[in-house]
């Protein structure tokens, strides 16, 4: 397997992207291996820097495709809220996925989003935007 890793640092977030031949194999079913590698890399980063550096890892573009799918899903639900009113609660998500949804909803007029519940059951709610309240995590 041939591959390369590109890293860049923005603020306190380290972005690492693995690309190359057959690196899809490193993603695993439903991204399970990607998640495992990310968890282990995070633990390594914390061991080597006491700072609260955060890590985002992507392999073969999988994480970005997944985020895009999440944005499309969020937009579709937002259209439903605009058309029919009422609130929609999404399934529980981790903070990174919730941020993707909040960011997608923030770009759409007429809806707002907020989170409810406690991790790991914390969920995004999409609601009609009646009073210009900002989205919040």
């Amino acid at each position: 397997m041939e591959g390369e890793v590109n890293t860049r640092v923005e603020g306190d977030i380290i972005y690492a992207e693995v690309t190359g031949d057959q690196t899809e194999a490193l993603v695993g079913p439903k991204g399970a291996i990607l998640d495992a590698v990310m968890e282990l890399c995070r633990t390594m980063v914390h061991r080597h820097s006491q700072s609260g550096a955060r890590l985002r890892l992507d392999i073969a573009g999988y994480a970005e495709r997944r985020r895009e799918a999440l944005r499309i899903y969020a937009r579709r639900l937002a259209e439903k809220v605009v058309a029919e009113g009422g609130e929609i609660m999404l399934e529980p998500m981790n903070p990174a996925d919730r941020k993707v949804v909040h960011d997608a909803i923030a770009e759409i007029d007429g809806v707002r989003s907020f989170s409810e519940g406690e991790d790991p059951e914390r969920s995004v709610v999409i609601a009609p935007d009646e009073d210009d309240e900002d989205e919040e995590d």
Binding site: A36, E39, L40, T43
Partner: protein, 82 residues
């Protein structure tokens, strides 16, 4: 040797995570024709780190070890021994 990739991967990651990498020991145990178990021992103070909150890091080890095992066509599991 069976389980060689699993052993290399588990050892590399455990040493990278541990405060005392020189204390990390990975013992491969033959559990059948296509099964291996990696027993990981670390310095006492590193045990919590390699297991993680609610076993998150330990489970990540298991997923990665199985991925390495797939390369060799074997089942691989990981246990952390005090």
């Amino acid at each position: 040797m069976k389980g060689e990739i699993v052993e290399r991967v588990v050892t590399y990651v455990a040493k990278a995570i541990a405060e005392e990498p020189e204390a990390v020991r990975v013992e491969m145990i033959d559990e059948g024709p296509d099964r291996v178990l990696a027993e990981v021992r670390t310095a006492k103070r590193d045990m919590g780190r390699v297991i993680g909150r609610r076993g998150r890091v330990a489970n990540a080890f298991r997923t990665l070890a199985q991925a390495a095992g797939d390369e060799e066509g074997i089942q691989a599991s990981v246990e952390f021994v005090d």
